[in-house]
Symmetry: C2
Subunit: 326 residues, 2 copies
Amino acid sequence: VGEFELLARLRARLSEGGARVRLGAGDDAAITVPGAATATSVDAVVDGVHFRRELAPLRSIGHKALAAGLSDLAAMGAEPGEAYIVLGLPRDLDEDAALELHGGIESLAGATGVTLAGGDVTRAPALFLAVTVVGHAAGADDLVRRDGASPGDVVAVTGELGGAAAGLGLLERPQLAAELAPEVAAGLRSRQLEPTPRLAEGRALAAAGASALIDISDGLGADAAQLAGASGVQLELDLERVPLQAGVPELAAGLGVDPFELVVGGGEDYELIACIAPGRLAAAADAIARSGGALAAIGRAVAGSGVPLSGPGGRLLPPSGYDQLA
Amino acid sequence: VGEFELLARLRARLSEGGARVRLGAGDDAAITVPGAATATSVDAVVDGVHFRRELAPLRSIGHKALAAGLSDLAAMGAEPGEAYIVLGLPRDLDEDAALELHGGIESLAGATGVTLAGGDVTRAPALFLAVTVVGHAAGADDLVRRDGASPGDVVAVTGELGGAAAGLGLLERPQLAAELAPEVAAGLRSRQLEPTPRLAEGRALAAAGASALIDISDGLGADAAQLAGASGVQLELDLERVPLQAGVPELAAGLGVDPFELVVGGGEDYELIACIAPGRLAAAADAIARSGGALAAIGRAVAGSGVPLSGPGGRLLPPSGYDQLA
């Protein structure tokens, strides 16, 4: 497949519209009319490092690469705007396969109102994707950083955790599905392969005045520690209050691990961790519930540092117990 | 080298400032306060496809990857703003080497006033870089596309052409340097390894009212054809009026090719092709001369399509003569 021909075919599939896009792919650069402030994130994924082609359909690989970028915008509370996609394609991936991969990107972009405004295609020894996403806000202060939490804030998480790690376990050991209802197994696989960026939740939390936000890409333990470190607070988390995705306990049993290991160290759930003043929690939870999501309080910010985790029965888990996973 | 540790070391080297950057690397996304319109371009380069590590110092690989992106901003007439860099690092490239590569990026960013506002680092089977650049303008109409040329416009190029292809020839066959003065040979190598994006020239051409702009990444022939096709005009070019970089004729003789082949098909000179109304050419040329650059008229836009090239003595060169290069 020639690069130019494939580029032309992909360009034809890029979104023409987009409220902020004045000129999409095909010129030296895309032209956009941004908000007064923008949030920009760049992420790359490489076959054999971040995913394995033998475990993931091509559409899912495309979906997940864009989802990870959009999750960063969710974690800023930004309005999603444009995405720019670099595809590095190995020789054994033909043009139809490249279009299938791109189809997963197009589908998620369509579902989230994101304009695919440009990109690049190159030959590469292994499949890689580099995704740049741009989100918008009315002002820089409307975007929520990870360094604004204060002692007294409630710590909350959106959605349910543990599903991405459980889903990976299920893809690696399909026989474990025998213990699960089919729709539960499908939900776990889907969380691993095609996670949903929590864009509406992030914007609701920003509008409600969240003091700090981060998305869960490396696991609740590692990402909470990032937020705690950036904000200069300690986050006391009660793992028993963390909502688990259906099937996580059964899958953990099948894998022979504690279900909380899948939550704390598993990563890739792409839910959000928020810190927010107690008086603002209900408004945020209500707004998120109205858009079909969920927000659960799982702890509080106090003076100090680090992320002490209390487990079943209030037992304090040594942070070192999860070090190898984080 | 651990990804996290290297990321931390690279982040410490990212620019803190930048007039438009409110928050740089280290959060989920960078926060910027953009102009009323932005130009965004994404390009990737891969070892063995776009460069060869055995021919190019690591600093040059970094420099050139950013230069190619900034050249796209030059070709929009945009004010350069931020860059976001993805590094894909193979195992045989250690941390010091990664910092050397990044040093080439930092150096060019510093020289052009570009803020390195974020990025990502990943393990990869071969070295790759994906560069996202964002430029700014007071309005979308201040950015110059490639589709605005009209019959009657003058076609002009900045600087001197052919040097990048000649420099590549010199890197591949170092013995050809014997025919050249040392500073001439150094100039050719430098054009290939560390090209200069024509940012001031692009902004001067935009301010002077250029109707269409494109940068020369694939060769004068291919890039002029892109502009002609997008604008729906024919570009009649007189190759004898194209300024050649010093040493190009000698190097072409050493390689046994016509010097115009290095201009038309060589690519990577990263000069600009502009179309502009005849009455506006002098103002553009004066502004560019004041910033130390040069602008030369090399042809005109007429009704029709394609890019007929006339060579020495007015002889019309068949476009097919360069097809294998374009």
